[in-house]
Symmetry: C2
Subunit: 235 residues, 2 copies
DNA sequence: TTAAAACCTTGACGCGCATCAAGATTCAAT
DNA sequence: ATTGAATCTTGATGCGCGTCAAGGTTTTAA
């Protein structure tokens, strides 16, 4: 909840940073060097300390924000103060898009999990580039369809599966994504619980059950060795 | 689960139908008559009887499908056979987009709620038009951000709110959307329950409670008169 | 018009999981 | 390294809501 720290003054390194940021983002990385320079000029860079709020639900959106360094979480709050973690962003990911096409206020919160550097571009500028370089739109459409798919699966999973199944499915997903048996949870149990629509206590208990059953081994806090994926998914 | 009934033979009326379909769809309706004709030529029309399955999860996607007449529902099935209604489409809405950008299989089911007429366009053709007419992409991006927003709100609501709150919020949404006190539920209690992540029994009970409290009146099956919106939302 | 099928309602019951609480472990900052 | 704060674990308890069941109502199709 502290103020954000704009750092748009150290000219040279700053332009360099913004360039390397744009160059690595999937929605822009097909452009020529010249086209990219044109885009880089329209961006600003901002950095945030760990724990800082990047944006609030209810305030007008700043525009498109591309993560250059660090990780941040997007979450929602219910009226009773419960939190749901929507997604975690890392370098190359972007946010702020919802208000890009429907001039509105943020509907979620963004908070830095680590020191974060961001490139920002306003709504009008992005729309201009979308019309000028149609391929960017296609890349964004691809990104959005993938997010939509994930979000709908998430919703279906919370609506239809038990907590146990959801946790097991999460472990399976992570095993596949990280393509290793020894997975590293990308977040705390509390955040994991809020992502899966349950409580930290229940996550602890279920993981303990999985361990008792011999399906996983917990090493330190964030490390889990998956021993029997099939058994997990059947349960 | 019956076969679909292709009707691509009655030339004249068919082209007419497809044209009026394309002309009324938000993602295309900004085009000139000539551009529209170009698009219409690439489409096929298909019709389905009530109850027919339009597509199955697991089978490869046919491409973009635009609803011209009638209503259909998109739903998912859990591994245990539970159903979640994702959304209901009416004239002007489209589906089949998820696989458009990620050459994959359907992840949900589509079923006709009434006799339905559809205009279909394949993946390659659409991509071609998206590059040729960038404004179409912008319209699709707008549509997708709106769907993504709804889907994330849906997921948050199921994860964080009680069934009672969800039902109350649904009634409030419908009151606003239909801008009347006497709302018409667009689906059966069973489908409503599956949409809200609960059971028909619980929906019945909660609506009865709301009625006892004097907040709503139920008239016939699909009609509900909302008497006290504020009370509903506080509860 | 009529009969069957689908849908809705209400009751009784039980379980999954949230909640509250208290102690143990780990992390972070000085 | 040390201490306080945050996180995690484990237990006890209670209730929201899913499930099963049975009867009533509406819709559908012939």
């Amino acid at each position: 909840m502290t103020e954000h720290n704009s750092c748009g003054h150290e000219a040279a390194s700053n332009v360099e940073m913004r360039h390397s940021c744009i160059a690595t983002v999937p929605i822009f990385n097909h452009l020529t060097a010249e086209e990219m320079n044109e885009i880089v000029k329209t961006t600003n860079s901002v950095s945030y300390a760990k724990g800082e709020t990047i944006y609030h639900a209810g305030e007008p959106s700043i525009g498109l924000q591309i993560v250059h360094k660090g990780r941040l979480k997007i979450y929602r709050l219910s009226e009773t103060g419960k939190e749901q973690l929507v997604r975690i962003l890392g370098p190359g990911d972007f946010t702020g898009e919802l208000s890009l096409f429907s001039e509105s206020v943020n509907d979620a919160y963004a908070e830095a999990l680590e020191p974060v550097e961001i490139c920002a571009m306003n709504r009008e500028t992005l729309q201009q580039f979308l019309l000028k370089y149609p391929a960017i739109s296609l890349k964004m459409l691809t990104e959005f369809t993938s997010r939509l798919l994930k979000s709908e699966q998430q919703s279906a999973s919370i609506a239809m599966e038990t907590v146990e199944t959801r946790i097991a499915m999460y472990l399976a997903d992570q095993t596949e994504e990280q393509s290793t048996q020894l997975i590293t949870l990308p977040m705390t149990r509390k955040d994991l619980a809020s992502h899966l629509g349950t409580t930290p206590e229940t996550v602890s208990r279920k993981l303990a059950e999985f361990e008792d059953a011999g399906w996983i081994e917990q090493e330190r806090r964030r490390k889990i060795r998956v021993l029997d994926l099939d058994a997990l998914l059947v349960a």
